[in-house]
């Protein structure tokens, strides 16, 4: 075989030799194609695997850690939450609408293959600065795509984040997370167990879409990618809705041994992974696979990435019932093969064997790349010289400007396009720190948030990784929920670049430390490398998707101030750390400094205080300080509560901008009625958390902040509401 053949499939020469060795012969074309996708970065995690091992994955709450289609955690009463996050960055960069839509489709399938009914979607998005037409086109297309797909499925999209930074210009990040609910005894797995069991293809027919999509995701975007047409697929949320209902119905009738989404690398990866998990083999006859185009070759059928398809192993003898259920939903379930004892993936076309590969060779023997971790020496340019930055004269103006920064401004324009109420479980709607879903028939609720500040990770990947986890946990805590576990989506540049691989390592180490300390193990995730545009790698962006549990949803909290006269407290310490802040980026066009420090012990005690206080019903609101610092957090609580606040800022020696806009970690603003103060003080003192009484919620509708006796900010709630709420809508219309 010519080297050009395997190279064009993205295989390296040494990998080709290894394949020959594993097979004991030359692979044929079909086999080579199968190896190429299975050994691609996207499917094999060859670069990330050794690093991912650093994540803590154990905990009493964990029912299923990494390795399955999605993670599973215990929420009591025999129930569990199934959740995972995944990226669709590259498809979204060239076809934002369909790219984002099919991203949602994929992650939802990962959740319902586990037997869970999806109850919520979150989306974590990154774009370049929102001032050019291309970015607007991408932003608008991505949001409509998510909206179209999620809404049609009838799964509420209840939360997420949108971050704008020029590092994402040309390479947006589109990560979608899905959460499902399941009774533990109905959990399904992606294993092809039971020798002789049938293997069925269900859902959409197979076309020529996205052949080699998995290898596409493993290479940098170039201008030519715009032309690489077949790599983007069109989604069919209607088909997916039918598939969802049919799959849940066969699971509820206990007909299923295992099933898996035909996602990246389609039939190839689903069949080999299912066989690997069960330590079995599969025999598949591609001529039985329903196709939508004529003349498809075995190669194309095995590698197609047509959407809305699943591979299903039902219990032997239940094929007819399975077919009946799928037909009821207007779908086909077709037997295409069977589970065999010999641990090989045997692909036939009629009677002809067209490929035969040991399953382990595909899944376990995939190459591992051990890149060196080299700390970049020259990071001088990232140093922050605060003295070179003039202190603003008019803080009202600066706050107004910050509230209009698209990263801080209200994302109403986004989440209004998402059906966030379908299912009537949403009890905290988008627009607070974390969304909360009630579990009908119980008093429980599940809270969720996605978080990551890529700028922090760029400036200090270790601290940035830690903060991503801590912030997600803090957001969940601000809703009154105990953080349970995380899923993550690691968006990085080209890992063959030393700096990128170093960032990757450091981020994971930082995240791991935080996960360990906060007792939120990693249950799964996804790695997306090669997020590069002509300007270079994107900021390292390890997005954390956190889920938490509220025992009694009557104790849930939101960020909005509730009643005039209530006391406002800041829990945590204010140090005035401006490094990596949105203030520096948006007002002074600077990405520099060291991100705020984070002490995990303090963080944990802070969580305890808020959770205990919430459980005792002491609090009226809770909101953490994140992008924009204390001033922005206060403004947000005022705006969402349509009230005012009168605040005396903490005693502070440094610069006023640092006090107002510094993004010091581990800070939560709470409000409560005055008579609850003694009880709150008791909790605060017991956990020895620093605090400061900021002031009082007011009726008059003004945000008034004074520092050392003089007024530094005085703005009407009406005015800042307009700015904050309308900015994105204005830019987008």
């Amino acid at each position: 075989m010519e080297p050009t053949v395997w190279r064009s499939m993205g295989l390296r020469d040494d990998e080709y030799l290894r394949i020959k060795e594993l097979l004991g012969r030359e692979p044929n074309y079909v086999e080579l194609g199968i190896f190429a996708v299975m050994w691609s970065e996207h499917c094999s995690y060859k670069t990330s695997k050794p690093v991912l091992r650093k994540f803590p994955t154990q905990g009493r709450q964990v029912i299923q850690g990494p390795g399955e289609n999605a993670g599973v955690v215990d929420i009591g009463d025999g129930q569990a939450v199934v959740f995972k996050i995944e990226s669709h960055n590259h498809p979204s960069a060239i076809e934002p609408f369909q790219g984002a839509a099919t991203g949602v489709g994929g992650i939802v399938r990962d959740v319902f293959t586990m037997g869970a009914r999806p109850i919520a979607i979150l989306d974590s998005l990154r774009f370049g600065d929102l001032d050019n037409n291309r970015t607007k086109y991408l932003f608008s297309g991505v949001v409509s795509g998510i909206s179209w797909y999620g809404n049609c499925l009838g799964i509420p999209t209840v939360g997420g984040e949108v971050f704008f930074d020029k590092s994402y210009e040309g390479n947006p990040l589109v990560n979608a997370m899905c959460i499902g609910l399941v009774d533990q005894d109905k959990l399904a797995k992606g294993a092809a167990a039971g020798i002789g069991n049938p293997v069925m293809a269900v859902g959409a027919r197979t076309g020529r879409d996205g052949i080699h999509g998995a290898t596409f995701a493993s290479a940098e975007l170039t201008e030519a990618s715009e032309e690489s047409r077949p790599s983007v697929q069109v989604g069919d949320p209607f088909m997916e809705k039918l598939l969802l209902e049919a799959c849940l119905e066969i699971i509820s009738e206990d007909l299923v041994v295992g099933m898996q989404d035909m996602g990246a690398a389609g039939l190839t990866s689903s069949s080999s992974e299912m066989a690997a998990r069960a330590k079995t083999g599969l025999e598949i006859d591609v001529s039985l696979v329903p196709v939508r185009e004529t003349g498809m070759t075995p190669y194309e059928i095995m590698l197609s990435e047509s959407q809305e398809r699943m591979l299903l192993v039902p219990k032997k003898g239940t094929e007819d019932r399975v077919q009946e259920i799928f037909e009821k939903w207007g779908l086909k379930a077709v037997k295409v093969g069977r589970v065999i004892e010999e641990r090989v993936l045997r692909i036939k076309e009629g009677e002809n064997v067209v490929a035969e590969i040991p399953v382990q060779a595909l899944v376990d023997e995939s190459p591992v790349c051990h890149y060196k971790v080299v700390e970049p020496l020259d990071r001088e340019n990232l140093k922050l010289d605060l003295d070179a930055i003039p202190e603003p004269a008019d803080y009202n103006q600066v706050l107004k400007s910050l509230l209009s920064s698209p990263t801080i401004a209200s994302k109403e324009w986004v989440y209004e396009q998402y059906d966030h109420g379908v299912g009537i479980n949403t009890v905290v709607y988008p627009g607070s720190d974390a969304a909360v879903m009630r579990i009908k028939g119980t008093s429980k609720g599940v809270a969720a948030s996605t978080d990551c500040n890529g700028r922090y990770c760029y400036l200090d990947p270790y601290e940035g990784g830690k903060i991503a986890v801590a912030e997600a946990a803090r957001n969940v805590v601000c809703s009154g929920a105990v953080p349970l576990a995380i899923t993550n989506c690691l968006n990085f540049g080209n890992p063959e670049k030393e700096e990128v691989f170093w960032q990757f390592n450091k981020c994971i180490e930082g995240m791991s430390e935080a996960c360990r300390r906060l007792n939120t193990p990693v249950t799964g995730g996804n790695v997306s490398f090669y997020n590069e545009s002509p300007q270079g790698a994107v900021h390292p962006t390890p997005v954390v998707g956190m889920v938490g549990l509220i025992a009694d949803i009557d104790n849930r909290l939101t960020q909005a101030f509730k009643t005039a006269g209530s006391k406002v407290l800041l829990l945590g310490e204010t140090k005035g750390e401006l490094g990596g802040s949105e203030y520096l980026y948006y007002i002074h066009k600077l990405t520099a400094g060291t991100p705020p420090g984070l002490d995990l012990n303090t963080e944990q005690r802070l969580h305890r205080v808020v959770l205990e206080a919430a459980e005792k019903g002491l609090l009226l609101s809770a909101h953490d300080c994140s992008e924009g610092g204390l001033a922005v957090a206060l403004a947000e609580s005022v705006i969402t509560g349509s009230l005012g606040v009168k605040v005396k800022l903490p005693q502070f020696d440094g610069r006023l901008d640092a006090l107002l806009f510094g993004e010091d970690q581990s800070r939560i603003i709470v409000s409560l009625s005055e008579d609850m103060m003694p009880e709150l003080m008791e909790v605060i003192n017991r956990h020895s958390i620093p605090y400061h009484v900021l002031g009082e919620v007011t009726e008059d509708g003004f945000l008034v902040l004074t520092a050392s006796g003089s007024e530094v900010i005085n703005l009407s709630t009406g005015e800042i509401t307009n700015i904050w709420r309308e900015e994105i809508r204005c830019r987008m219309s």
């Binding site: 809404n151 049609c152 009838g154 396009q417 059906d419 379908v422 009537i424 009890v427």
Partner: protein
């Protein structure tokens, strides 16, 4: 009272309506699969929201030909109560049970948010627990709720007092600003001439429980029950 909630392929508010009818207002409620005939003994049929047939071609256009719809038409012709919510409203207009059509929102975007509705009159089986002029807050969640009817048809609708809900401001003023989707005359909900078939874009089932934040919608379901009890 016996309710039937029709399930089309792609319906996705079916379970929500059933939850409210069964667990909040405690009525006997069952799903009716679109391929099955409409059960005989129903007192009210609900066509729920969602994306029947993926909203392909036009919203509601394909669902309107589902086998169950023959039974629904007959049921309506005999005076049975039919409530179409969101996609259900779209199916009703496609089926000709209600006049007009629902087009894509003026801004082309799906919109999910609470809106204010002015109750235009309460002499219907669906609004008797409300007062004319009441302003209620009910969420919308649709991409195609832009109500349209020919001028002549519109005039007739207005003349017959068929408009039941109009989009309005919090103070009850019906104006362009309060119109979320471009509907003519701010029409949000409409009843047929005979007064037994109501279609509305907003979702009363999404505001019928304290815990999800709003409760105005429950009045619609209570009205139906009142009406039925009064008739017995």
């Amino acid at each position: 009272m016996k309710f039937g909630v029709v399930v089309f392929p792609g319906s996705n508010c079916d379970a929500d309506v059933k939850h409210v009818l069964q667990d909040v207002v405690n009525q006997d409620t069952r799903f009716v699969w679109h391929k099955d005939p409409l059960p005989r003994a129903l007192d009210c049929v609900v066509l729920p929201g969602g994306f029947s047939y993926g909203d392909y071609l036009r919203t509601g256009a394909i669902a309107r030909f589902s086998p169950v719809m023959e039974g629904v038409m007959e049921f309506a012709a005999q005076g049975g109560l039919v409530l179409g919510i969101c996609n259900g409203f779209q199916v009703l207009t496609e089926a000709g049970l209600l006049p007009g059509a629902l087009m894509v929102n003026k801004n082309l975007k799906f919109m999910c948010k609470p809106v204010y509705l002015r109750v235009e009159h309460n002499g219907t089986p669906f609004t008797n627990a409300l007062n004319a002029g009441d302003v209620i807050e009910v969420p919308i969640a649709h991409g195609e709720g832009n109500y349209f009817a020919d001028p002549e048809v519109l005039e007739e609708i207005e003349r017959n007092n068929q408009v039941v809900f109009r989009y309005c401001t919090r103070e009850g003023v019906v104006n362009a600003q309060a119109n979320p989707n471009g509907s003519v005359n701010n029409i949000a909900g409409l009843i047929n001439k005979e007064g037994n078939v109501l279609g509305m874009m907003p979702h009363p089932e999404r505001c019928s429980e304290e815990v999800i934040g709003r409760v105005d919608g429950i009045k619609v379901f209570q009205s139906i029950i009142n009406w039925w009890q009064g008739r017995k």
